[in-house]
Symmetry: C2
Subunit: 627 residues, 2 copies
């Protein structure tokens, strides 16, 4: 067994039978999947069979931390959670930072598997080895910050850490997320899965320490990582000082900051009102994750006007989704919307995009005031956007049409509206226009979660990073190899070792994989090579791909919204660019070939066996025999 | 020195010089003033001379706990604070429960005196014997719940307890209060005093124990108190089960539930929409004070409609001030207003009454839409009320006229509006119409803080309590003696021993004073008799009266708003009653006589010397020589 890093235990809670059990974490699972998303996808694949209703009792919620989490490692306090996504029908993988993730390790568990469905609202209270289900009848309907406070008060311990859903999750909005403090296990409707199980919250308090195999080796590795981070211009001063809003200016520079539901990217410039300057005026502090020296999460306070007194921590994505994307330049309204979404437990990207979709339909006359309940749903109308946020969470008024995201809204509305729904596989687009960021775009098209900026972020495209090599962001060629590298490195470093996404932007002389190996080896006592580390990332992506394949996903789903495929950008530094269907096919062919997948986008037996995914081979063969 | 109960220390923080010092609590002060309001008025009287500008550096904030606070005593976790009130110019005395009060004792202090004025926004961080001033620049502008969370996060201890102001206090609204958790040191603009000193918050964490002189005696006394509480119908089941909203039904029964700025008391019946039934539907839990077995603070959640998801803990007074008083029957809007006031740090009674005053002016045509910025400010318009709450906190729009309470608003508006301003000495009326509750009314007229239901609550009037003897609430005769008894018992039991107000409603076979003596003696080792205890209450009321006298207050200020003196109630169980000027004079004569005060309402040398208030005699003599 590994000598450190892991608590060696899996906690399983069956909400149907109310049975709580503890299993050992198998050494082979630890070695092959490392932790976090690796563990989560492993158990999701094994335990959630094809055809499972995402909102049925058979779906599971699998939370898993990594070996570094809870140690003194800088920027590794995150946790992954996986479930079958009700929004996409594919793998729903989310990661969150903060303090909840490490607390679960302090309580003694690497993995928490929640299954079944409670008859009545409950929450799970994990206090070291005492685990119980408690009634959440009184908590049902509470906003997430209130819910957390009430649980702390009721259990008489302010140091309890809690992940919970808000009204949106209770009402099964497929845009609901799971909130801990102000942070989210975001996107993909993971909050609705909790809601469907009548599970309001998970409360954790632990007093154990995470063992470290070699303190000397750990200190050395962590020092190297800290230095690399400090040397990285992206991290210091940019992200450390200004937080993620710096991305607005960077993207405006490359003509890829999406505006007005992607209809005005490169044309409509809100940098002055939404960029770093405007954010700095409202910044009052930071809210860093456990042991994080960067602190990209910046607390913003509205100081005047109708939203005065509102405080929240909107990141770049929210400023994009409720700002540029909606043609809104009122940053205060975005802070308000962010706070509202956190409280209701809603994903800001999906909600902002779904509202943007509706705004475009309204401006095009596809829907009218009769549909919106009298709302003048034009771009820029932040009052309407804010009103819709609540309507979405409670499925009221026009919000009932939008509550499950843009894809389902388009199905309900019809009239050709689907072409304005900016999603991939049902997941709304994050704030990067793929037409000028083709590595990133290819990653969106192929990521196992849908349009997800966190499953293979392309720093090469966005920041011009030369690691592992520079790219021409506008040239579709060569993108397959780079997208694969980004996805695999992201999967292992950020999702399995659960180091912060921004680590990827740091330059490591011996490579990021070597850094991850050094960190994880020091903590666990394993002897991963850099190559093995990369292979873990590849393993995760392949296993997730097979999970999706058995749900019916293949090449046809690796695509973009019609606008990306047909409308060239009209202005800015990426003017005239788009991704034609031919380009997409070229990129996919290259990508599948790099991955050793078939032309249909399915993993070959060869690559699966190389990765030791024998079970996945069996599943794929069963699939093939059926069709 | 006493053997228990006290930490024996006074902490003094000078914000001008940033000097922190510790003084011993003198034994004589402990014995003569017991604690809480006793200590607070003692130091206020000694240290804040006549003519002090309430919002100047010379005013002080004096926080003081009682001997029982922090022990296992049931319902004694409160703390008093005194300052010269910017709203009334008189003593501003407030008490709050929760957890902040006991934490200050755990840190080792009975009294905290804050003086001077900081140049920049600061907060005080008291961690046992380590006391420091820290910058609050970043916290300036934050809502109270956010402020508390950020301080806990920044100091990396979720168990810190905090009292702070919101934007209203920063903007020096004379209706601002000081919030700890969701509780308030309310009324009298005490939050503006903090704001004027650039003091955003006081954060406390302590690890000491409060010594108890005799555990055996204490357990015995506490058991008697618990039994008395359990035997009291008012406490169990009424207050324990339903919280303070039960008062609505009780007052409706006696025709004294104030409606529409006291213009429709007894006529307009909102019991169904605002009473116990409506509250029960929204109740999701309790938020009891430290060691409280009753838990009158009930958490309410709005479950549907435009305010859905809002959670707050409105007590009877808020349901009155934003409900009946505004002609509002939408309980959800009241919960929303309560939450908003807590966040902004505003006193719900004063704000509700000031808005009600404006609504009556609007309905009478004294002000119009031109004054209100277009608002249709009619009774029942809760949307307008909610809009005004924010405007008041930020002194924006029509809110800038209302921001300092009804008395000052009337001065600004003129046009005879003063007669609709429902205040005494500048403090807005709580939710008891004195026209049908004359003992209570006399207490309002004479209380040293203005119209304050907590400076001599009349359970005899309100609940028909036979302790110490039954009264005829409609007969002005005999009220002097009863008002004095209520005021003195309240001052010592609730304000000095800091036991909960509701203790007063319990029946003690040997009398409430004996119970207080038993409790305090057990904890401190003192040997108070019941008579001595009553005398401490009297001492507090007399010293406060002299404080006010040297600020110019006398008989002329012991009065009611014109409506109470001239308009008989039009319907209900107190129909045709009011308090004529003749009745008022009769009641005052009786009251002054009971108190051994002059016909001008000033304490005589005789009574002051009897009470050992020699310094007060000197002050009164100096005053007399001037006039």
């Amino acid at each position: 067994m590994p000598k450190g890093g892991y608590m060696q235990k899996i906690l399983r809670v069956d909400l149907t039978t109310q049975k709580v059990s503890v299993e050992s974490l198998p050494e082979k699972v630890a070695r092959d999947f490392m932790g976090g998303a690796g563990f989560a996808i492993k158990y999701l694949f094994d335990e959630v069979p094809a055809g499972t209703d995402p909102l049925g009792a058979e779906n599971k919620l699998i939370f898993a931390s990594g070996p570094l989490s809870g140690t003194n490692a800088s920027c590794a306090s995150r946790m992954a959670m996986a479930t079958k996504s009700p929004l996409t029908g594919a793998v729903g993988m989310s990661l969150s930072g903060g303090y909840f993730p490490v607390e679960l390790k302090f309580a003694g568990y690497d993995v928490l598997i929640i299954e079944g469905k409670s008859e009545e609202p409950v929450y799970i209270w994990i206090h070291d080895d005492k685990v119980s289900l408690r009634s959440a009848k009184g908590l049902w309907g509470t906003a997430t910050l209130d819910c957390q406070q009430i649980i702390k008060d009721n259990l008489n311990d302010q140091n309890i850490r809690i992940a919970c859903i808000g009204p949106a999750g209770e009402n099964l909005s497929k845009m609901a997320c799971i909130i801990n403090e102000r942070r989210a296990f975001g996107r993909k409707g993971v909050g609705a899965v909790m809601g469907s199980k009548n599970l309001k919250a998970i409360a954790v308090r632990g007093r154990q320490k995470v063992p470290v195999a070699s303190q000397d080796a750990f200190k050395k590795a962590n020092a190297v990582m800290l230095k690399a981070m400090k040397d990285s211009e992206a991290l210091y001063p940019a992200l450390g000082k200004f937080g993620t809003p710096v991305v607005i200016e960077v993207l405006w520079g490359s003509g890829t900051f999406p505006a007005k539901n992607f209809s005005a990217t490169g044309q409509w410039n809100p940098v002055e009102q939404l960029g770093v300057g405007a954010n700095e005026v409202r910044k009052i502090g930071k809210e860093p994750c456990y042991k994080c020296p960067v602190g990209c999460a910046q607390i913003k306070l509205v100081k005047e006007g109708p939203y005065a007194g509102t405080l929240s921590v909107p990141d770049y994505e929210t400023i994009y989704s409720f700002g540029g994307n909606l043609g809104v330049t009122d940053l205060d309204s975005i802070i308000y919307a962010d706070r509202l979404c956190d409280g209701l437990g809603l994903d800001t990207i999906s909600v902002g995009l779904t509202i943007g979709f509706a705004m475009e339909l309204f401006e095009k006359g596809i829907i009218t005031k009769e549909d919106t309940g009298g709302m003048e749903l034009t771009f820029g109308n932040h009052e309407a956007a804010i009103q819709l946020v609540s309507q979405i969470a409670y499925r009221k008024g026009f919000g009932s049409i939008l509550a499950d995201g843009s894809k389902i809204a388009a199905e309900k509305i019809g009239k050709g509206s689907e072409k304005f729904a900016m999603h991939i596989k049902g997941l709304e687009m994050p704030g990067y226009d793929p037409r000028g960021l083709k590595t990133h775009g290819l990653s969106f098209a192929t990521a196992y979660t849908g349009a997800d900026h966190n499953r293979g972020y392309s720093s090469q495209d966005v920041f011009g990073s030369p690691v592992p090599e520079p790219v021409d962001r506008l040239d579709p060629k060569g993108k397959g190899r780079m997208a694969k590298w980004n996805q695999d490195m992201h999967a292992v470093t950020c999702d399995a070792a659960t180091m912060c996404n921004f680590i990827i932007d740091a330059y490591f002389p011996e490579g990021a994989a070597k850094n991850t190996a050094d960190m994880v080896n020091a903590v666990t006592g394993f002897d991963y090579t850099a190559q093995e580390v990369e292979m873990i990332g590849e393993r995760i992506n392949n296993l997730a791909r097979v999970f999706n394949a058995r749900e019916g996903f293949d090449r046809k789903d690796d695509t973009f919204p019609e606008r990306i495929l047909t409308e060239p950008l009209k202005a800015g530094a990426s003017k005239d660019h788009y991704i034609s269907k031919e380009e997409l096919n070229l990129m996919l062919d290259e990508y599948y070939s790099e991955r050793k997948w078939t032309a249909q986008g399915l993993p070959t037996k060869e690559i699966l066996l190389t990765l030791g995914l024998d079970d996945a081979v069996t599943e794929l063969e069963r699939l093939a025999s059926k069709s």
